[in-house]
Point group: D2
Chain length 411, copies 4
């Protein structure tokens, strides 16, 4: 089943065991081209080493599944949980986040050995009803880290003046699909949030009603060509287009273009390449997305508006991650895929939301201040991972993810 | 009309001229006990010198009313706009915010002279229909700065190891009013936002519909006694109660109590005084308010829930600012007054919100990221200034304002 | 004795009482033109408010003389030592240095009252042999703070965009004295350090021998004209002229001229004035002095070379502080006065140096790392305060003092 | 000549070619136990990756020897000088020092290939009179980086909670040599500095005379046992023992013991090991050395005093680096070796010192501000590298080198 080893593995119609194993294999496929040193470095506190992602996801299964539910399981190394816990306060003290890049040991090979050890032990727990939800959480957790692994290694390689490539580019067939200029919505009461069928993160519920005003959502993502027009029109130098915090950020950081732009090129996982004007713009902050929308005389959608449209679209469509390889957004008419889409909604709890008990309750709820919601999926999102109710979230200044935007307007 | 000189001046039934003059007199009454040096110092970048508040509000009238609408008016001093513009990009460069405390010149007396000069010139514009809305904005703008002046000088005096008093405490009669334990609301579609009668800031509109789930809002504010129980129960040391950003803030700043607490005392505008256990807790951050609500097994209200209840309450009631004097929250059953109330709503634009054109369009809209909404009014809010649709906003870590909380719960 | 109230007061031939009283009066004369607010502000952590200098010098007499040696003396205010101790660890905890500018209370008038109270009590101790050395230390300590008061208020007023003047300029007669182009010295063993007659700080001793190579010291100070040539020749852009730390400093701070330069003007205690090309350059860091000397193909003198020449010069000559007024360096041929002169000597203990016991032992010795020695005296040094053995010292990046340079060369 | 491949290579009696090749081999021996990831990480801006040291020393030979003196030589990779220039302004822009740890490419293997390429090309230049001095400089330059490589990788491994070992400890025979309690010196005129025979760095000259007072230098280094007594006596909590900058450093950094101490253990290149009380204390800052000397009622020597004694000692004796292996100070009576010894002398130019022309002139002179001189040699100094005139230098707060102290006193 060679293909499965490099597919995203969360597709419907497969058993949990198949999906678990496929997801684990994809993570390893993602680092196939990396040296031990590549997998060790950390280029900023927001990012983590590739090796750390491989280890942390393994720690998740070892801790919440094997330790808690497999009698007699002995940890592979008692000293490693301290190194690879991310932010679970209930799991105790941990290595400082900003110092993850100093861990030359354990080596990449040792981490891969640990993964094999854990995977073998995990087979006993797969498709077992009592832990099925936790395993599912672990699979989707690892998919999130697959995307972070790609964006983090992209940032690290960009910091190297040699601009090394992560992997050769993969030709992606353009998505030929009819899409209207605008998806119109008449407003009214919409049902928002996950309704309970299939896996979802706790922050996607409870399902509830939201009252919408009439609006329209653009049929396509804002492109590099659109963005170049914004720059040419002085977008980054016009204070009146910007949120106050955004204007301070532009000036403090000297921002004048999306991250990774240099002349007519952009840094990609395949090194410095010419930009495609028709491809969606990516690596922009919320501040930039909001300023662009102001410049265009429109606005960003709310996450509820987006979801109301998204419910009738195929969440597995568009450009998403299928195999371990270099990814970069290409032109597409799909609602999902390519880049995540900033919304103007702050990341806040839905009515009657309650986090789960225990350490896994720290998964989402505690991040509900200061961040904005993104919807859709990106070229680095494992296909099958996202949903119309899926809520991604980042701080408004962050832009090392594959972030982009789709405009909205009142009608 | 001595009384008017120290009343808040925005009450209904008075002419605009009466309200303008009363507001201007109240600002001056607030600094009556301050020396030139007291009025000059700045204790942190978030705060401004008292003198600066007197000057900035005067700059507002001189710029947007006298310069723009009174032919032949000559600025009192051409060099001062650079010093006293706050954040209006459209009005050009300005003195660095963090360096406001270095301006020993112009002196407090010179600023008071400027105020008299501007007030005299302003008389020709009061109650004139074409500029009436701008004058009204200026009055409410000055009232906002009255509250900031009080909270800023409180912070500055607190930084002095001598703990000097701003003024003697004023006895405040307890508000005797029946209030239920909980205000219950059945949910449904509520109309939110200012409906157009009387003054409101642009961020309070447009009026629109919001769908609410059934909820209840507490009849009283959380008290110092309640807060002491939270502390005694380890509230500040229990990670699971806190938002992630909040927990980082608690640890980075070493927070273990509300601002201004010391043993059984609290610093007030009358110096260090014993705390009244029945008075509402104040000077807490959003993070603290949220953690307290989690500890209490409840939550903060949304701003929409708060407004749905607030629409049937007297916005001029409760403990609010009437005269230039020391203020400190006292026990009360009123919905408004005492302390501002944190909501769990991020400060975001209402549907179809558009900022005004020109410099005054920078008043509110550009701050719509990263902050949370507070509702109600505090003991330092000029009576008549607030409304049920009023949206105050601060960053989640800020707590030098008179901030408190009122719990909510699902029903 | 009106004249004495504004003379520097350390001249020979006067009694200690006369010198004490004259020194105290001069300090007060220096603040005669300052408002309470002017005297309160602090523009950077290195500087202190004028009021603080008046208070700290008074604290010195109250603590080390009145408290320790005048039976029955009661402190003027028991809470003030915490505010006005500078750095004496042996005297306990103290107010944070960077927060001195927040002390609007006590007011300038209260500090002046305190000074009168202390001065009156001090009369009983003046010219008393057992405390004579401590009183002398207090007088010279206060003279040091007079110079700091002037340089600190200069910096604070410069931070104000209005550029207010401290006082009107005082015409200074040019010093007409013959000076050679170079003072030559044949080298050999020189005796360095204070020999015991008259007051000196502990760091000026013990007197000891130093072996000098033949050298020459320039007859004049480097002038503004000389410095303009350095700038015109790209001095601030030529890495090879600079010490490594200096080059980092130039680039981090964006330095391209001496402090207080703006076009053809310089900020002075009388506001912005045209620069005199013949006046000595001032407000330069050690890094700049060293780079200039490299550019000129010469070097800075060692402190021992300077002293070997200085021993035959009049330490009370040249432009030094006589009255409370605006000061600014003027052309002069004197060895002393005008500006302090950077030497290439690090500030280190002389052979067999031992600090005194007790708190006053903290006066000098504990600063002997990281700083460089300056010799001579400046226009802001109380005349009579300096000596040929006098060792002033600052960090190499500091330049808000009246610092300049005199070149040296090997012969 | 296997032995030579792991000896320090600067011994007398060998040809330049032999010494060049031995030095190059030793550097490679030092990284024999490191993975690519180990050799890539950088744990603080003061430190550099092991790989970087290997590359930078190679860049030195490629640039100043092969490029400048071997006609037809083509750089191995034109892009690498940007990465591996350290601080030579004359050689143009370069990669930011603090970002050296992000260079996962080129890999360790690629750097080793580069070394072979350069070494091969270098053979044509060895023992050639016209470039002999430059080659000699390159050899000694590489020896300095060998010591930095060891101290930098020690720091990096210490940052890893696993505390991995660099290599197994090597048994070192205790140095049995008679040493007096004190080396006494009668004072008088001493000749200081390198006299011209054999290699020396430019900062060791010109040779000149210095007048010394009578003094004594301790026969042994301060030991771990001595230091424990200092700690037990409250040394780190007694302000009066410390320089002002040192006391600020102790409090800001929370320092309470030498670097790498933990209970009765210390981190070494062989991981966490029990401390030998008789071994010299190491990894202390100048501030700590100075405070210890004050506590002991003595002082640090000047660099001139140290050299006056050192001239009659064997600079190749004591514990110094012979082979690529784990090193850690052991008890010894030798004057050289074990740990570098802080002196109380600031690092300043000797009389008539002039840096060389061109880029190599940046080697030493530009660092002559803010640092203190250390004398002797450490267990990580390649044997044969140091001399009695050798001047090592670091900032007073730095302590990741093998730094220690030897007391002095006046007699």
């Amino acid at each position: 089943m060679q293909a499965a080893t490099t597919t995203s593995g969360a597709c419907q119609g497969y058993s949990q065991a198949e999906r678990f194993n496929a997801t684990r294999r994809l993570s390893e496929a993602l680092v196939a081209s990396l040296s031990d040193a590549d997998a060790t470095i950390q280029s900023m506190p927001d990012a983590s080493p590739a090796k750390w992602h491989l280890a942390h996801t393994t720690w998740f299964f070892e801790t919440f599944l094997l330790r808690d539910h497999l009698p007699g399981y002995a940890r592979f190394d008692e000293r490693w949980p301290f190194l690879f816990n991310s932010y679970y306060e209930a799991e105790g003290a941990r290595h400082a986040r900003a110092a993850r890049g100093l861990l030359s040991r354990p080596s990449l090979d040792e981490i891969l050995d640990w993964r094999r050890h854990v995977d073998q032990a995990m087979q006993a727990l797969l498709d077992r009803p009592d832990v099925s939800a936790l395993v599912e959480l672990g699979i989707h957790h690892e998919q999130q880290h697959q995307e972070l692994l790609l964006t983090d290694i992209k940032h690290a390689l960009w910091c190297n003046p040699l601009g090394p490539a992560f992997a050769d580019p993969i030709p992606v067939a353009p998505t030929e699909r009819d899409a209207p200029d605008w998806y119109e919505h008449p407003g009214g009461i919409a049902r928002i949030g996950h309704d309970g069928a299939g896996f979802a993160f706790d922050n996607e519920g409870p399902s509830h009603r939201v009252l919408l005003e009439p609006f329209a959502l653009a049929g396509g993502l804002v492109s590099n060509r659109d963005w170049a027009a914004f720059i040419a029109d002085g977008g980054y130098r016009t204070a009146s287009l910007w949120l106050s915090d955004g204007w301070a950020w532009v000036n403090a950081e000297g921002v004048s273009a999306p991250m990774y732009w240099r002349g007519d090129e952009a840094f990609t996982l395949s090194g410095w390449l010419a930009r495609d004007p028709d491809a969606p713009v990516t690596h922009i902050s919320y501040y930039e997305a909001d300023a662009f929308a102001s410049w265009a005389g429109m606005r960003l959608p709310t996450e509820f508006e987006w979801e109301a449209i998204g419910q009738s679209h195929d969440a597995s469509g568009g450009q998403q991650l299928d195999v371990g390889a270099s990814v970069n957004p290409v032109p597409s008419n799909a609602l999902f895929g390519g880049t995540w889409q900033w919304t103007r909604s702050a990341y806040l709890p839905y009515p009657r939301f309650r986090p789960a008990n225990g350490a896994v309750g720290e998964y989402n709820g505690k991040f509900m201040s200061g961040q904005f919601v993104l919807r859709g999926a990106s070229c680095a999102t494992a296909r099958g991972h996202s949903r119309s109710s899926y809520r991604n979230f980042f701080y408004p200044h962050q832009r090392w993810q594959f972030t982009g935007l789709r405009l909205a307007k009142d009608v």
